[in-house]
């Protein structure tokens, strides 16, 4: 086998340094305080100061990493539930910008964390985040007008990557958040991450790409973001897979530890199976960026289906096995359950991924 499905020493060190930083500087109490406050500038700065954002970008794009390094970093970000828009701004939008012809102008600002772009595609009734060509803002002469919705990380964004259409082909534009006519209404998701609606009124933008190239970049960015989200969810599930047996070993009812009940042991065994299946397809999707686009799409869709299912099952069962404790905000398990619940809501529902999987899969190959 040419692939080991384990992190290299360097990749492991990346993960360790994020984990150490979060363990030291981001205790649960601090996270809870930030949960309703919106963008945590200090956390962002702390993460940026580690100098690891470069690991999210490919070497030929001014970074020193790629998909696997991204996977390595997002495990601990999930385990510690860092409320920072690294996924949305650095991976989804960041990878689009970095891979575009504008890339070289922005990699420095991206890798140092001073630039935080957010992808703004959905509008009106459109709700499938993957169907990027369904809607687009009208534009003329480099000026955009209209409203974008469900902009993940939009509350903290310094820039927006906006889909628009000038009569014909889809195009992708970079608009500064402080450009004339841009107004941002921010809110929070149930997991504490930011979300925004953004309106543009004759706002000036810079062309990033158009036509097939725009479509290629969007698909790439969404897939990169999806795999980072999968890695993050696996990190969260790892945390639950450790916390649940530990809790049940410590809690006694009927004069014995709850962990001694076979019904609960079997449930945890099922959680373990779900977790490892999620991890396998997380690897498979992460390594698919080397492969032809159709293969990549199928692998990413498969990962979204499996991770979504595992996230739901493991989240629900971790709460169930903690009893009332699992519902208390004092317990990390409740917070992991919230973020694992958001996974499915933000990345799109399972039937949408199944359809994309089917469309991208060669039925003769398994």
């Amino acid at each position: 086998m040419t692939v080991a499905y384990v992190f290299s020493e360097d990749q492991g060190m990346l993960a360790d340094s994020v984990a150490r930083f979060l363990e030291r500087d981001y205790p649960p109490a601090r996270r809870r305080a930030a949960l309703t406050a919106g963008f945590d500038e200090m956390l962002w700065q702390g993460l940026a100061n580690l100098g690891l954002f470069g690991a999210l970008f490919d070497e030929d794009q001014g970074g020193f990493g790629g998909p696997v390094e991204t996977m390595a970093l997002f495990g601990p970000l999930g385990r510690h539930m860092a409320l920072a828009p690294v996924l949305e701004c650095m991976v989804t939008a960041g990878s689009i910008l970095a891979a575009s012809t504008l890339g070289p102008d922005h990699t420095e600002a991206l890798t140092t964390g001073t630039m935080r772009p957010a992808l703004a595609t959905l509008e009106g009734q459109a709700r499938d985040p993957w169907d990027v060509t369904a809607v687009a803002l009208p534009m003329s002469g480099g000026m955009l007008s209209g409203a974008k919705r469900w902009v993940q990380g939009g509350d903290a964004a310094t820039h927006f990557l906006v889909t628009a259409r000038d009569g014909g082909a889809l195009s992708l534009w970079l608009v500064a958040a402080d450009a004339p006519g841009v107004s941002v209404t921010s809110s929070l998701r149930i997991d504490g991450h930011g979300i925004a609606e953004v309106t543009f009124d004759s706002s000036p933008g810079t062309l990033v790409a158009s036509g097939d190239e725009a479509a290629r970049l969007l698909s790439l960015g969404l897939d990169r973001g999806a795999m980072a989200a999968c890695a993050q969810a696996v990190g969260e599930m790892d945390a639950l897979m450790e916390a649940t047996p530990e809790y049940l070993r410590g809690r006694e009812q009927y004069g014995v530890p709850l962990a001694s009940f076979q019904a609960l042991q079997h449930r945890m065994a099922d959680m373990f199976v779900a977790l490892e299946c999620a991890r396998s397809l997380c690897w498979h999707g992460t390594l698919a960026f080397e492969r032809p686009e159709a293969d990549r799409r199928a692998a990413v869709a498969a990962a979204l289906v499996q991770v979504g299912r595992s996230a739901r099952f493991i989240g629900q069962q971790a709460v169930q096995l903690h009893g009332g404790m699992g519902m208390s905000e004092e317990m990390p398990v409740a917070h992991h359950f919230l973020s694992l619940t958001t996974f499915g809501l933000v990345r799109g529902a399972e039937p949408l991924h199944l359809r994309r999987f089917e469309a991208a899969t060669d039925p003769e190959r398994t």
Binding site: L122, I195, Y254, A263, Q316
Partner: protein, 393 residues
């Protein structure tokens, strides 16, 4: 809307159903009905206002005998009441008072206790909380450690109650208290009731998933409870609890709530990317058959009760299946709602159109419904009961 008669229900039952619907339509504040429908929170004052309307009609206490101010309904009427109030989004009111401590006092209380404690429930002045669970006594409730020591005619109660729903709004608690040593842990437990402003009672909030404050930790530090506040015989609470919970087994299945969630799911599915999705529509249809399975299981129990026969083992299906069906429905609703469900209803609002605004609480409802398989005898405990008592394994 025309309704067809369900098998076994009489014209008179259906007339009652219509009367009830008309009453709710006319009397329930539309804003409150809307809030309940979307899963948003309802204030104590709003619960009280609705309880007072029901009380004026004589419908507040379905399970109490008429002589004590109850509705005096048979099982079918109670079932219809539960179904329609859920379907029409009425606030649930002070459930521990109406469904638990009320029937307890009606059945086991002295005449003095009935005269003293029941009117406050019916007038909605008194709000009760249920002090059963403790930090060390969850599923294994009989291991509870809150102690009552005799001091003359009084009891001095010390211990900690956990997960006490709405203790912050309550002015009375009914608590399970260990009042004597007994070889079996189910023995020696008594029902004591006391005002929440008694010296030594303190309430600490517990915030649950999604920022909800519904449960609390209640510390009892040498709380003096007069002997007149012991309900039933000393040491007999375990048996009494079994009796009272037995009254609730049909309501506990939440059949009306499942039907309501199913209706909500169909409404949500009218728009959005899943509206035309064949697989998702199949899932909705399957959930519908689940609701029917639950409903007709309840009808079998009802039929037995009306015939004066023991309902038998099928009752145990209701709580287990009822919890699972409500949870599955809440999950499907949230998924059908899409990205709006991920937005916190408690954060700064986005400028949402009305139909989407109504979906803001769908994740909160999903999260909250996880409790159904935890409290009132968890789903694992229900399975143990089925395996041991019914299958005799």
């Amino acid at each position: 809307m025309t309704r067809h008669l369900d098998p076994g229900f009489t014209e008179a039952d259906e007339a009652f159903r219509s009367e009830l619907r008309a009453f709710i339509e006319a009397e329930l504040d539309p804003a409150v009905r809307d809030a309940v429908g979307r899963g948003a929170s309802v204030t104590k004052a709003q619960h009280q206002a609705w309880q007072r309307k029901l009380a004026a009609k004589g419908w507040l206490a379905p399970n109490w005998p008429k002589e004590y101010g109850g509705a005096g309904w048979n099982s079918v009427r109670r079932f219809i009441f539960d179904e329609e109030t859920a379907l029409m989004d009425t606030p649930r009111g002070n459930v521990p008072a109406i469904d638990l401590v009320g029937p307890l006092i009606c059945t086991f209380g002295t005449e003095e206790q009935k005269a003293r404690l029941l009117p406050g429930i019916l007038s909605s002045e008194d709000w009760w909380c249920q002090g059963f669970s403790e930090p060390g006594a969850g599923s294994d409730l009989a291991s509870l450690r809150t102690r009552g020591l005799r001091d003359g005619d009084d009891w001095i109660v010390t211990g900690t109650k956990l997960w006490t729903s709405h203790a912050q709004n309550a002015n009375w608690m009914f608590a399970l208290v260990r009042t004597s040593e007994h070889p079996k842990k189910q023995g020696g437990i008594s029902y004591l009731v006391f005002p929440m402003d008694s010296p030594g009672v303190s309430v600490t909030p517990i915030i649950t998933l999604g920022g909800v404050h519904a449960v609390n930790q209640v510390f009892l530090d040498e709380v003096r409870v007069p002997g007149a506040n012991l309900i039933g015989a000393e040491g007999d609470a375990w048996r009494m609890t079994g009796y009272v919970l037995g009254l609730e087994r049909l309501v506990g299945a939440g059949i009306g709530h499942s039907q309501r969630l199913l209706k909500h799911l169909r409404d949500v599915l009218k728009t959005g990317p899943l509206a035309e999705d064949r697989a998702f529509r199949d899932r909705v249809a399957a959930l519908h058959t689940d609701v029917l399975a639950l409903k007709y299981t309840a009808h079998r129990v009802l039929a037995a009760e009306m015939a004066g026969e023991p309902a038998g083992t099928v009752v145990s299906v209701l709580k287990l299946k009822g919890a699972a069906v409500q949870q599955d429905l809440a999950e499907a609703i949230m998924e059908a709602a899409g990205p709006v469900a991920a937005v916190s209803p408690r954060a700064e609002p986005l400028d949402l159109p009305a139909d989407e605004d109504a979906l803001l609480w769908t994740a909160t409802t999903y999260l909250d419904r996880r409790k159904l398989s935890i409290y009132g005898g968890s789903s694992e405990i229900q399975r143990n009961i089925i395996a041991r008592r019914i299958l005799k394994i």
